[in-house]
Symmetry: C2
Subunit: 193 residues, 2 copies
Amino acid sequence: MAADSPYKIDVALIHCPVINKSGEIIGSAVTNLDLHDIARAGCTYGVDTYWVVTPDTMQQDLVREIVSHWTEGYGGSVNPDRKNALSLIRVCSSLDEVIEGMTEKWSVRPHTLATCARPGQGTEGYSETRNRIRQGIPELLLFGTAWGLAPEVLSRVDGILPPLRGINEFNHLSVRSAVSIILDRLMALPDER
Amino acid sequence: MAADSPYKIDVALIHCPVINKSGEIIGSAVTNLDLHDIARAGCTYGVDTYWVVTPDTMQQDLVREIVSHWTEGYGGSVNPDRKNALSLIRVCSSLDEVIEGMTEKWSVRPHTLATCARPGQGTEGYSETRNRIRQGIPELLLFGTAWGLAPEVLSRVDGILPPLRGINEFNHLSVRSAVSIILDRLMALPDER
């Protein structure tokens, strides 16, 4: 859990169900740097829990092994900042488990917001999301690996953030970059930017 | 080179000289996902060239091999977006070579701006940097691997951006996250955020 965060915000990285390049439903493999980069960004911007979601028990064990190296093993003793960051990670099997865990933690069901790089998907803006977070309403931000969250995930959330756009139509950011940018947009103080 | 960018902005990722955890001057090894993530963010936000700076010729060859897989080999044929992104990469040996290359490209020496996670280093704000970039002045953004740019690099730039801050003193972002966030702060249109 994040120390000193005034917000109730969690991030979930979904490995299944996501889509592949052809739009088919798949489960993706865990990427080591997704664990580190998103945990480090989460710790910087006040995320309470970073949920790593995969139904594959061998992948779950792999994540736990990596996390424990940094939180309980040698990694954490030589790099306490990394220990603090990776302490945010909690492994689970499904989006249902994430929502149950958050509801239990904060005694209220979180507002759920998906992210999607495909055009035309946005239903809620950054400004209104910032306001909601600052009011202390528990918020779950969902990110997909591979080519993004499956339609069955997008259809059951409360809203979808607009795709990140730069200067043109190219927006093929890594999920590590997308999480970092979105947390900065939502959580950095205005005078920091 | 980035297509359709109205800006003259380059990014350089320095592998030597940088500092290690103890503040000693070192050269770091290239990380594959630094190439991909920063190229993808650069392509999204209109970076013209992404300079990968290392004096180690074996590391240079490794970078060129990875880049050519995606720009000329099988990778690019199955993933054209990745091809476009990695086409931004140019390998070189030193900061001097970067500045010479930019001066040649735009017929004027670029304004050079370092980034640094250590507190108290900021000398130029995001707002004034945005204004300069929008005026079309060539800008070089320097990022360090490992524990950051060596003092000898910081002492020869025109300015230093303030460290990224979230909600507290923890700001141990990966360089991939830092580049992504800083490009978003500098280049995203205000109504996008």
